[in-house]
């Protein structure tokens, strides 16, 4: 092969190679606009239902642009609106108000519905649409957990301080209720550690490792409508020990444990009534999980302490696997019937969340402080229940009902 033939071959191969890579497999065509139809369906079984002030917001996943419309009209039992958007993938969010008649009274609920990753594709023959079902569920009015401060605070030296935890309980009804016999419970299982427990009782009962009750004979501790009380883990002025903490010496109630371990005795404020300890797992004293990996609930037990401690104890078993090894494990805990539970909140963190440890009928979501296990940014934060028009929001979904990563109310 002579020099010139060789060069010709070389150039030809270079040209072929260049033509392959220059082929752009990306579509540079203009993005078509699509008339996307949004249909709202109202809950079944409601009388004289109307949807008012409904607004749909479509957010483009690619560029974050929002497209909004509020022109819903009733068409054949559905409320319909059309939004013109560029083809793409969207998050569709609807907010509005559903009004209906209930026993002769007009009831109004704010509703919202969100669907993510909704494909909006142009087609000459097929209509682009999404159907969204509105949900008007609100929990029966009564006691709710309005705040849980579990993270503790940091000392000026940067050390953890967890003695200043507290929980707030509110009366979300229109009449005075009595705290007597109301229980605060903590889940046995962790929302960050999913196991296949046997027996699986979750749809019937909550497995708990601590239960504390408000004292009283029935009407000793009233709580007015719209008010809330504070229950401290330790009712003292924590600023004496940690300048970054607050004063809990005026708490309404406190957790107190007559600890078995003489080296870890609980402190007692004689001016603050104690909760009654039916059971807790700790040999020293109780505290909330300070990374927020458990669920907490309020309940009205329908038996006395002796009966509960004797009859509601059970053993949950699971298999622990590590590499090629498996071990049968078990844990003793108490089962609290879901029918006794008046409010429940699951807590977790995003990077570790695996499951809810209550039935979805009690809580379909979860709240959090921090986003990672041992998050250094979680201190001084609470989960606080949102309010709407003077009432605490309670749809049994903590993701929606609570403000996560909120500054603890005692700091405000």
């Amino acid at each position: 092969m002579n020099k010139f033939k060789f060069f010709a071959t070389m150039l030809a191969m270079s040209a072929i190679g260049a033509s392959f890579v220059a082929c752009d497999d990306d579509d540079d065509n203009e993005i078509p606009m699509v008339n996307h139809v949004v249909k709202l369906t109202v809950p079944m079984g409601l009388q004289d239902v109307t949807v008012d002030d409904a607004t749909v917001t479509m957010t483009n996943n690619e560029n974050g642009k929002e497209y909004t419309s509020s022109q819903f009209v009733l068409v054949n039992d559905e409320y319909v609106d059309t939004v013109t958007v560029p083809q793409g993938i969207y998050s569709v969010n609807v907010r509005g108000k559903v009004s209906y008649m209930l026993d002769g009274t007009k009831v109004s609920n704010n509703v919202k519905s969100t669907q993510e990753n909704v494909p909006v594709n142009y087609s000459a023959t097929i209509e682009s649409k999404s159907a969204m079902a509105l949900v008007t569920y609100n929990a029966k009015e009564g006691f709710v957990i309005s705040e849980i401060f579990f993270t503790g605070t940091l000392t000026p030296e940067g050390k953890q301080y967890s003695d200043d935890q507290y929980i707030k309980i509110a009366n979300n009804s229109d009449s005075t209720l009595y705290l007597d016999g109301l229980a605060i419970v903590e889940s046995e299982f962790l929302t960050t550690d999913k196991q296949d427990y046997t027996p699986d009782l979750m749809n019937e009962a909550m497995s708990i490792d601590a239960i504390y009750l408000f004292p009283g004979s029935g009407k000793d501790y009233p709580l007015e409508a719209g008010k809330e009380i504070l229950v401290a883990v330790n009712a003292k002025d924590h600023r004496e020990f940690n300048a970054n903490s607050f004063d809990l010496s005026k708490a309404d109630f406190e957790f107190y444990d007559d600890a078995e371990n003489p080296d870890f005795q609980d402190e007692q404020n004689p001016n603050v009534p104690d909760l009654m300890n039916w059971y807790d797992y700790s040999y020293s004293y109780f505290g909330f999980h300070n990374r927020g990996f458990k669920a907490y609930a309020l309940a009205k037990p329908e038996c006395d302490m002796e009966t509960f401690v004797k009859d509601y104890l059970y053993t949950a078993t699971y298999v622990f696997t590590f590499g090629e090894y498996s071990f049968d494990m078990d844990t003793e805990c108490y089962k609290l019937p879901n029918s006794w539970i008046v409010d429940a909140v699951n807590l977790s963190v995003e990077d570790s969340y695996q499951w809810n440890v209550t039935a979805s009928s009690l809580d379909a979501g979860w709240a959090h402080c921090g986003s990672v296990d041992h998050d250094q940014n979680r201190y001084g934060k609470s989960v606080i229940r949102k309010k709407d028009g003077g009432k605490w929001i309670d749809t049994n979904n903590s993701t929606n009902d609570f403000e996560s990563d909120a500054q603890a109310s005692l700091f405000k």
Partner: protein, 126 residues
């Protein structure tokens, strides 16, 4: 020399072909979520939303379009959690129908097959 060049070219192309790796490009599937109400009643009609959340990447897909007791969603293959909420009309064995608010959930299921089916038992809220 020409022969040598051809041999080198063939060897290069063979080696390049050998270095190609298997593509796992079966990305999507259709997931069918079915609601069951136990032995004493059947699901007549559902008005609600099914949300499936991919446990690997946290992305959610939803559907409110039910055909009887089930809905289908096109999803990326993988492990999912499922949550359903809405109102449901149940027909009982005595022929009567009742309407309830309900929820259903599953912490873990797999949408890997074509199609993938998950059955959930409903919990009545009212």
């Amino acid at each position: 020399m020409k022969r040598l060049l051809y041999i080198i070219l063939v060897l290069t192309l063979l080696a390049a072909a050998w270095s190609c790796h298997k593509d796992y490009d079966d990305f999507f599937t259709v997931a069918q979520v079915q609601l069951t109400a136990g032995d004493t009643c059947t699901v007549e009609k559902v008005q609600g939303t099914v949300t499936v959340t991919n446990l690997s990447n946290g992305q959610s897909f939803s559907s409110s379009t039910f055909e009887g007791n089930f809905t289908t969603i096109e999803v990326m293959r993988g492990p999912y959690s499922v949550a359903v909420e809405g109102t449901i009309s149940l027909r009982h064995t005595d022929g009567s129908s009742t309407i309830h608010q309900f929820r259903a959930s599953e912490n873990y299921c797999e949408f890997l097959r074509h199609p993938s089916v998950v059955k959930l038992s409903i919990l009545l809220m009212s």
